[in-house]
Symmetry: C2
Subunit: 317 residues, 2 copies
């Protein structure tokens, strides 16, 4: 099927809810944000062999692509709104594959309240290469990375290291724990949490490169440091079990990426409110440390012994 035909057959329907998309038949889309709302915009890609295995299923590509982007909106406290999609596919990728991908995208739109408004398609010999640009809505106040204060509590949502351990299992041809694999291919963007933290958290970032790497980004932006207690990091029972057998496995929760949990800071005065938010979003929010005026990260075990920092996430320098 020609590219234009694929757009008409599989993707035009995904744009129907936004008149300014012109059903993907014009040169660009025309968008008007609701009065009083600002646009939060971010973009991220999924490349086969880098962000997903080359043989991942069409719905895995749709889920990971959408959710990596939505996680950035979550970290700003924004509400998903519209998106554009660049689909660059190898010539051998058939219409069936594209149809399944589009069906999965439709489900993602429905789940997260987004509408497709534009994009491009190209056939090239390179591996599957998809980019999504995501527009969200926010009031003037958003969560930022640069607002952490000394003595703030440091929190993390959910559990850490799940996706990294799933990837490790994949790469070593081990039997994969399905719950962890789902965390790797279809992470849950913490949108509701991010939105509820606006005005309460002093800073926030999503964990895409690993706890230490992303915390380091937040600390640099805020010009502060942090004390962390390793042994209270929230872990999936499966990951906790691996760590119990091999202390080297602490690298998964400390440095593994792709969990897309939120890391945030808040004044100790907010503890009761944050407990209430944890209840409301049905997600553990664990206090893992405290912000310090001394720069850098100091990591301790349960006994208070300092642990030399392992190699940080792959983006760290």
């Amino acid at each position: 099927m020609a590219e234009r035909e694929r757009i008409a057959n599989y993707f035009a329907a995904l744009s129907a809810a936004e008149p300014g998309s012109f059903l993907l038949t014009d040169d660009a889309a025309l968008l008007t944000s609701p009065p009083g709302q600002s646009i939060v915009i971010t973009t991220d890609s999924v490349i086969a062999g880098i962000h997903l295995p080359v043989d991942a299923k069409p719905h895995h590509f749709a889920q990971k692509l959408v959710r990596r982007n939505l996680s950035d909106l979550a970290a700003m406290g924004a509400v998903p709104w519209r998106y554009l999609l660049n689909l660059h596919t190898p010539p051998g990728l058939g219409d069936d594959w594209i149809a399944q991908f589009a069906a999965a995208l439709a489900e993602e739109q429905r789940l997260f309240g987004m509408v497709l408004v534009g994009g491009d398609t190209t056939s090239s010999e390179a591996p599957i290469h998809f980019t999504l640009t995501c527009l969200g809505l926010a009031n003037d106040t958003t969560l930022r990375r640069n607002g952490a204060y000394v003595d703030d509590d440091v929190y993390v949502s959910g559990t850490l290291g799940d996706a990294a351990y799933a990837l490790y299992q994949l790469q070593h041809n081990m039997a994969i724990e399905e719950a962890l694999f789902q965390r790797y291919v279809a992470p849950t963007p913490r949108l509701e949490l991010g939105q509820m933290l606006v005005g309460i958290a002093t800073s926030a970032i999503d964990i895409s490169d690993g706890l230490l790497a992303d915390l380091s980004q937040l600390l640099q932006a805020s010009k502060v440091g942090a004390n962390l207690v390793r042994d209270i990091l929230p872990l999936h029972p499966y990951v906790a079990n691996i760590i119990a057998k091999d202390a080297n496995a602490w690298r998964f929760p400390l440095s593994g990426g792709d969990d897309y949990e939120l890391l945030f800071t808040a004044s100790p005065e907010q503890r009761t409110r944050i407990e209430a938010i944890a209840q409301a979003v049905q997600l553990p929010l664990t206090r893992i440390g405290i912000i310090t005026s001394a720069l850098g990260i100091t990591l301790r075990d349960a006994k208070g012994e300092i642990i030399p920092l392992p190699e940080l996430g792959w983006e760290y320098r």
Copy 2:
């Protein structure tokens, strides 16, 4: 240099004019469009080996990437505003190359009044793969593809076939005519023309896939047809010369892509105004045909003989 360092060293400065870019240090950008203005948004990629030769210079990548996108804004009559950039580079691409690319991007920003507000970087084994998502501003009225009426004049700006002939010369290792090569690597988006045509043209599209292919898109959207006279198509003297020697070379202006001229329609009552616009933008605007109620394109030579349509541009079906 690590990717984060490249962003800080080469790209952060390109975002300084928009406070909501947070100097590319946060999870997303926060944009507020000026009161009463809508956002026009489009996205397009440049892949080495497809849209440019693999050995094209860094500034060619910057120019082609920016201008292909801006041409879509031109076709809507929008004013360039902000953009996001996905940079996916092979590991061997050095810092020098990136520095030159960023310098060329800075020049494009200056020329066209845009500011970088976000993006992503990935290193992968695939060829250079850049995507730009471009936001423009417009009033509620924009140019569209679907407004051509029966008996409207059909116009095209500039000259046709220049870029396609340059590409042909490149692919056949011929000596390249510099003026045509520039048209291929650094097309001029017809922004000023597009903006002046709002309220005057009944429809418009930019010519990226070839005159016949893009006219066909406009006609389908408008549910009309067109009569065209081949022998009055505006040609660069170099292309006219090739055609004088070989009638097969008509395929360059008829089906060659990448010229990024505007194709538009207007009521005959607008002829005087359109002549004035041509003067104002210092660009030939050539009347090449007329809109008909009979669907499809009828192409004639100077004597009125019907010419069987050659294979249309590569996107046509």
